[in-house]
């Protein structure tokens, strides 16, 4: 299973971040969420936390999403030493999406009203 992201449908409401932090921390803190939404002027980009990587990489090129050129680092799913996202704000411990358990039951998908996030077979 994987979570499919349809950027065109994301409105930037960040309810996915609320749902995720509520599930994993018992309180609401979008910065402790395993999914983060980057809000651009023309498009919103949800990014789901992938594995931790110990070193920063050099792939800082630009990618184009829905006509918007963004820094590759922004949409990179890895938690890494040079990026503030996907790490606990106070301790720096990396965060990674676990699909809310087994079998997968991702809360972000349930809370995503516009349908930007869907759970699909890999």
């Amino acid at each position: 299973m994987r979570i499919k992201i349809d950027y065109a449908k994301c409105t930037g409401c960040r309810l996915c971040q609320v749902a995720c932090s509520l599930q994993h921390t018992g309180s609401i803190n979008p910065q402790r969420s395993r999914i983060r939404v980057f809000v651009g002027e023309d498009v919103c980009l949800p990014v789901i936390a992938g594995p931790y990587t110990e070193a920063a990489c050099n792939s800082r090129g630009k990618v184009v999403i829905n006509g918007l050129e963004v820094d590759g680092c922004v949409v990179c799913r890895a938690s890494c030493p040079v990026k503030s996202a996907f790490r606990e704000p106070d301790t720096g411990i990396p965060l990674k999406c676990d699909f809310c358990g087994d079998p997968p039951d991702p809360q972000c998908v349930k809370w995503c009203d516009p349908g930007a996030l869907t759970l699909v077979d890999a």
């Binding site: 930037g12 409401c13 509520l22 609401i28 910065q31 980057f38 349930k110």
Partner: protein, 609 residues
């Protein structure tokens, strides 16, 4: 405390002192937050008679217990202060992310007082609170201000940290003390009515940056989660909310126009031929929409970013909403969507309230056409429909250049200056919004009795099933005024939670988030308490019965559907229903019932006609 962070951040701009105070649980319990608690803070700390543009005025940026929890359509903040436009209480609400971000930084309320000696901006990131120089930002338009600040902050913060910061700022209009200047937020949103941008400008405060890494706790996690799930399910089935998702408020101009209640040519008419095009809201959506832009935690995303094909207006902006379309469009005698978008864009960028700006210019247009406003004062002609004159005047107003300096004082001032105060279509100095009161009489009463002036957001329209009986309109007007006072205190979005839409949900959210199980009667009493306390503020600031009035055009000249608003009958009935005396002053019995006291002297002030 669940829901609340329990902290007030206070900044004295004169001395640069910063302090963090504990929020009293009693204040939270009795006034919930937002509009109610912000008002209580002002009432306790400030004399309502002060000069709104002087250093004695305070700005309270207030969140509520629901802010930042992700309660659907609960991401707003409210700014409470004294209005330089009306001279009375001001409490414009605004969406976006600023409210939640202030909460995550750790503060329920931000109180700003005094006046900085030179332009500054306030930077808040968790415990890091700094006043930083802003001379280099002074004069910039609102989007440019935000871009410049983000550029500056990118030296110390990465893209994701910047992404989780919100910026509110003023444009040139606020800097120059335009009495209907807005506080702009998150790229085109506005705490729009009442001119609080001018108050921020009078304090030399250009912008506030807020964000943080804190959490908001809810009392009943499982109950809360289930309530949200249930709400989302209900929301998908709701017909009205479907229209909000698709069109925001763009479905309203056509509807208002069709029913003959669209403010047109300074409220001389209720119908505009050009607005027939708007009857299919897809026309607007297809023409200007870039994307749906949700406030924090809102599944409905009624706000739309828009763009027009004109290189002189680069980038995107928010709106225009229905009220802006009417006041900057039909009420100024034109209907071309691109032109309305241009005017909306200018107002957003310069930081001016689209509604009062429109009402002020339409007033000037009528004065000009009637021959009361000589062309030499303007330097060019400006009859209804003259868009070029309008764009030019909007620009001049924001910098107080030439005739713009007159317009910057607001429509009431303009109309009085040229000897025809009856031609300003507003209440308490604030321009009336889009719905022509002669089409729906009760709306006239709502505008007239609104504590902040001619605003549409403190009561709802009697369009819903169970509310159509005219005999009951007055009852519902009072009910809605009280209920929305609570909605603005919690804070929920008025657009989504007004009137019979989800009325019972407020209680559910407060219970699951704060753990406090308010009874229905208690909530009703709290809303009424806030409304009456605002009234006391206004009375002390000098309000009299004469301020609860509509323009003569609305009460004496049947312009729309051959109807007038019978204020001579409605107002005494309203006062009686409220438990106020014949001068609109709350009776001692009413105040006692609400647990309020009137200081000696208030009543005497109120009766000085």
């Amino acid at each position: 405390m669940f829901g609340w962070k329990g902290k007030i951040l206070r900044i004295d701009l004169t001395t640069g002192n910063r302090s963090v105070e504990d929020l009293s649980p009693e204040l939270c319990r009795e006034f919930v937050g937002g509009r109610g608690a912000g008002l209580k803070i002002l009432m306790d700390e400030m004399d309502p008679r002060i000069d709104p543009l002087g250093p004695e005025n305070k700005l309270v940026f207030a969140t509520g217990p629901l802010t930042g929890t992700g309660v659907p359509a609960g991401g707003r903040f409210v700014v409470v202060s004294k209005s330089p436009l009306s001279g009375f209480i001001a409490n414009p609400c605004c969406g976006g992310y600023f409210g939640p971000n202030l909460k995550y930084a750790g503060y329920d309320f931000l109180i700003l007082e005094g006046k900085a000696s030179s332009p500054v901006y306030l930077y808040i990131r968790d415990e890091q609170v700094e006043l930083r120089p802003a001379e280099h930002l002074w004069g910039l338009w609102s989007t440019a201000t935000e871009h410049a600040l983000r550029q500056e902050l990118s030296e110390t913060l990465d893209d994701w940290q910047l992404n989780d910061l919100s910026i509110v700022c003023i444009g040139p209009a606020g800097e120059n003390g335009v009495r209907f200047a807005c506080i702009m937020a998150d790229g085109g949103r506005a705490a729009g009515r009442s001119g609080l941008g001018a108050v921020m400008g009078s304090k030399n405060l250009k912008a506030i940056v807020a964000g943080g890494t804190g959490s908001v706790e809810v009392a009943d996690v499982e109950g809360y989660r289930q309530a949200v799930m249930g709400f989302l399910d209900e929301g998908r089935e709701n017909r009205v909310l479907y229209a909000r998702r698709m069109y925001g408020t763009w479905s309203l101009p056509g509807r208002a126009n069709k029913s003959g209640t669209q403010a047109t040519r300074n409220f001389q008419e209720g119908y505009s031929k050009a607005f027939e095009w708007y009857e299919d809201p897809n026309h607007v959506r297809d023409h200007i929409r870039v994307r749906d832009e949700a406030c924090f935690g809102c599944p409905f995303a009624c706000s739309k970013r828009s763009r027009i094909d004109d290189p002189a207006y680069p980038g995107t902006t928010k709106g225009p909403e229905h009220e802006s379309m009417a006041l900057l469009g039909s009420n100024c005698g034109f209907g071309d969507l691109d032109d309305i978008c241009r005017a909306n864009y200018i107002c957003n960028e310069l930081g001016m309230d689209t509604i009062t700006a429109g009402a002020t210019i339409s007033c000037a247009m009528e004065l000009y056409e009637s021959g009361f406003l000589p062309e030499e004062d303007l330097g060019f002609p400006m009859g209804f429909g003259n868009t070029e004159a309008m764009f030019a005047l909007l620009h001049k107003t924001a910098v107080r250049e030439a005739f713009g300096a007159v317009l910057a004082e607001g429509g009431r001032f303009v109309a009085e200056r040229y000897g025809h105060p009856e031609l300003f279509m507003g209440v308490k100095g604030m321009g009336m919004p889009a719905w022509h009161p002669q089409g729906i009489e009760i709306i006239g009463l709502q505008y007239a009795t609104n504590n902040v002036g001619g605003s549409h957001t403190k009561a709802t329209l009697p369009f819903y099933d169970g509310r159509r009986d005219p005999a009951e309109h007055l009852k519902w007007a009072k009910y809605d005024q009280d209920y929305i006072a609570l909605v603005d205190s919690a804070i929920l979005c008025w657009i989504i939670y007004h009137g019979p839409l989800w009325g019972e949900k407020l209680q559910v959210w407060l219970k699951t988030v704060t753990g406090i199980d308010y009874a229905n009667e208690e909530l009703a009493l709290m809303g009424e308490r806030i409304w009456n306390m605002e009234r006391l503020f206004n009375l002390k600031a000098g309000l009299t019965k004469k301020d609860d009035a509509l323009p003569k055009r609305i009460t004496d000249e049947p312009r729309v559907k051959g109807q007038v608003v019978h204020m001579d009958r409605l107002l005494p009935e309203y006062y009686a229903l409220r438990g106020w005396d014949e001068n609109g002053v709350p009776t001692p019995e009413k105040l006692e019932e609400l647990g309020l006291v009137m200081e000696s002297g208030d009543k005497d002030d109120a009766n000085q006609d």
